[in-house]
């Protein structure tokens, strides 16, 4: 019974990692850059949702929509101002810029909302399902998060596979120069990717804070790094991989906390990651690309 409860806890946090990881993997797969500010866009999304619910008193569905709208806009603005001018320069320059954007967002949030923590009210109003005399509890948040991550994953897979823009994204991902020669607007495609990634971040922020209610300017950074790990674990650039990596990371983390050691759970999680990467360097579902010389 115990193990089932731990599994559910693991899936709950894993599904949150999965949604964040989907955003990471999208941007990396197509723009070939690590957007370290992704975790902080999540935090902004959560704050927007918190403000709309608590200060304006609007229903939670409106707050989610507002968070998605603001984050999408924020993503486009960040991309246009900070990353677009660096297109074509070394990837290190873009990486450092991303770290700068991350600090900028955290400091700006501290200025606007102060550093004292806020308690996020869950957007899920469903009563928890209690099984076997309350020994096993499945909260509404778990169901909603898991459902949302599956919907997002399927949606992204269909989008990149079937639509015109999605196909353009895949082309840019495979070979940027060739795509440009084929008449694809590379800049615009990358901007669209950022917009989608940031919209996902808003959803992730709301779900993260519904699961773990503490909201601070640094709320996004640690889960962001976890999710990045999950994306690498599952094979960065692969959409189902991010989902699988996130869920597995959550489960391994929870089970090692429960049965091995709470203090060493991080060491255990990251040891598993190292072993997987030694055996499968491209991650669980990543594609091994042959370098042609």
């Amino acid at each position: 019974m115990q193990i089932l409860q731990y599994l559910i806890n693991g899936i709950s946090i894993g599904a949150v990692y999965a949604i964040i990881a989907l955003g990471y993997t999208m941007v990396y797969g197509i723009a070939k850059m690590l957007n370290f500010a992704h975790g902080d866009v999540i935090m902004v999304g959560a704050y927007i949702s918190f403000c709309v619910t608590n200060y304006l008193g609007l229903p939670s569905i409106v707050s989610v929509a507002a968070a998605v709208a603001v984050c999408t806009l924020l993503g486009i603005v960040i991309e246009g101002l900070a990353y677009k001018p660096l297109r074509g320069t070394s990837s290190l320059a873009v990486l450092i810029t991303a770290i700068g954007v991350s600090y900028f967002l955290q400091n700006a949030a501290q200025l606007i909302w102060s550093s004292s923590p806020k308690n996020f009210t869950s957007i899920v109003t469903m009563e928890p399902i209690s099984l076997m005399d309350g020994q096993l509890v499945i909260t509404g948040e778990v169901l909603v998060t898991v459902a949302a991550s599956i919907v997002v994953m399927l949606g992204l897979t269909l989008f990149t596979g079937k639509t015109r823009t999605g196909k353009a994204m895949r082309a840019v991902s495979e070979d940027r120069d060739a795509a440009q020669l084929m008449g694809i607007n590379v800049n615009q495609t990358i901007s669209t990717t950022f917009a989608i990634g940031s919209a996902l971040a808003a959803v992730a922020g709301v779900l993260l804070c519904s699961t773990v209610p503490t909201l601070m300017p640094t709320t996004g950074s640690m889960p962001g790094i976890r999710a990045f790990t999950a994306a690498v674990f599952g094979g960065i650039g692969s959409i189902p991989g991010a989902m699988l990596g996130g869920i597995l990371l959550g489960i391994i983390e929870t089970l090692s906390k429960a049965y091995l050691s709470t203090q060493f759970s991080d060491a255990i999680v990251f040891s598993v990651l190292i072993i997987i990467l030694l055996v499968k360097p491209a991650g669980l579902l990543g594609k091994q690309v042959q370098e042609k010389v």
Partner: protein
């Protein structure tokens, strides 16, 4: 045009980084300006004022604590200077709770200003970095809130106004053995934080001595994985704990209480002084904290005259904000130093080293009554001895435990 936009953005970014500091230094400036006339007056009356300095996080993620201590100290300084007699000049420097170079450079700034007595630091990391310096400089140090044992043990010139962490843990265990002798206890703590670990170790040692039934003693988390505390709560639930000890800050405690409620787990939660503030978390459903027991040396709802007057003044100075125990600790620190200075005949002309020797003599023998305790004394290591106080949250306010 492009360059202009880039410049504008760069300027905005720089502003956002420093805006916090700006408001901090502005406030320090107004304090200095307020103090100046009384300072000059004092110089005319009794010779120069005693210079007391504080370092603490006035900006950044821990600024709540630093600003509270400074606010409490300012009230004490205002009261003392209004009395006439020995005057105090007070200055606070920002160390951002950064134990490395920032704390020491804030301390050095105060030394350049002519500080005679050091009334910091607010956080343990900074206090440890500065403690060694004060030993070399022979400057007396009385920290309001740096609670690690190592701070007081660094030198004979260092004293603490708050409980040391292991002492707080031990008194929590004693309280439990008196009030809940049959409880099955679970302990959740932050193993990456010296404050939390210190309390947990002190608690577990005392609990073993007293024969308390501790069923879960290793449900730890770290700063890196504290985003999810559901496993630790589940462990306590499965072990049948009806009392859960939470020696960490209210930020994480709010998470524990919320999760426990969703899985319909309702033991008695027991917190330490870091739990103080949980009722003020924006958006937190305070009914979840109903029945929560916490050890705090200061209760802003107390009706004694000293507390009421302090709370009223603090609210006036700080936009209606209710003072927490950090503010009360700061207030007591200034009064303890003032009493000792008067008794030892220290004034602005005494050198820092002489003041240090005289104050050590005073603190080893004197007894102080303050907001955070009555009949407070210090042992030979500079650690405080005072009666622990605990409250229980009832109908959304603290009620002293009988």
């Amino acid at each position: 045009m492009k360059k202009f936009i880039a410049l504008l953005l760069a300027a905005m970014m720089v502003m956002s980084m420093f805006a916090g500091c700006q408001s901090g230094s502005e406030q320090t400036a107004t304090t200095a300006a307020q103090d100046q006339p009384t300072g000059e007056q004092a110089a005319a009356d009794t010779g120069a004022a005693v210079k007391i300095g504080l370092t603490g996080p006035l900006t950044g993620g821990n600024s709540e604590y630093g600003l509270a201590v400074r606010g409490g100290m300012e009230i004490a300084v205002e009261e003392i200077n209004a009395k006439g007699g020995l005057q105090i000049e007070f200055k606070a420097e920002d160390d951002e709770a950064d134990g490395s170079d920032k704390a020491v450079s804030a301390y050095n700034t105060l030394k350049d200003w002519g500080m005679q007595i050091f009334a910091g630091a607010v956080t343990t990391g900074s206090a440890l970095a500065i403690a060694a310096e004060t030993v070399n400089d022979q400057i007396f140090m009385l920290t309001p809130s740096a609670s690690a044992e190592d701070v007081a043990l660094t030198g004979s010139n260092i004293y603490q106004m708050c409980f040391t962490d292991p002492n707080q843990g031990a008194s929590a265990a004693e309280l439990m053995s008196q009030k809940w002798p049959d409880a099955t206890i679970g302990v959740i703590y932050d193993s990456s934080d010296p404050y939390s670990t210190g309390i947990a170790e002190g608690f577990l040692a005392k609990a073993e001595e007293l024969g308390l039934n501790v069923a879960v003693d290793d449900a730890a988390f770290t700063a890196d994985n504290k985003a999810d505390l559901s496993t630790q709560v589940t462990q306590c639930k499965d072990a049948g704990c009806d009392m859960v000890f939470l020696p960490f800050y209210y930020t994480e405690a709010a998470q524990v209480l919320t999760y426990a409620n969703t899985v319909d787990y309702h033991p008695t939660f027991f917190g330490c002084d870091g739990m103080d503030g949980i009722l003020n978390v924006e958006g937190f459903d305070t009914t979840l904290a109903e029945g929560l027991v916490l050890m705090t040396p200061f209760d802003a709802n107390a009706t004694d005259e000293a507390t009421v007057s302090f709370v009223t003044k603090y609210k006036e100075n700080n936009d209606g904000k209710v003072p927490n125990q950090f503010a009360a600790d700061g207030y007591d620190v200034i009064y303890a130093l003032y009493n000792a200075c008067v008794a030892a005949g220290i004034d602005g002309s005494t050198s820092a080293a002489d003041a240090c020797a005289l104050l050590q003599e005073q603190f080893s023998t004197m007894t102080v009554d303050g907001l955070t305790g009555k009949g407070m004394t210090w042992d030979e290591n500079g650690m405080i001895s005072k009666a622990p106080a605990a409250v229980v949250v009832t109908d959304g306010i603290y009620v002293p435990i009988s």
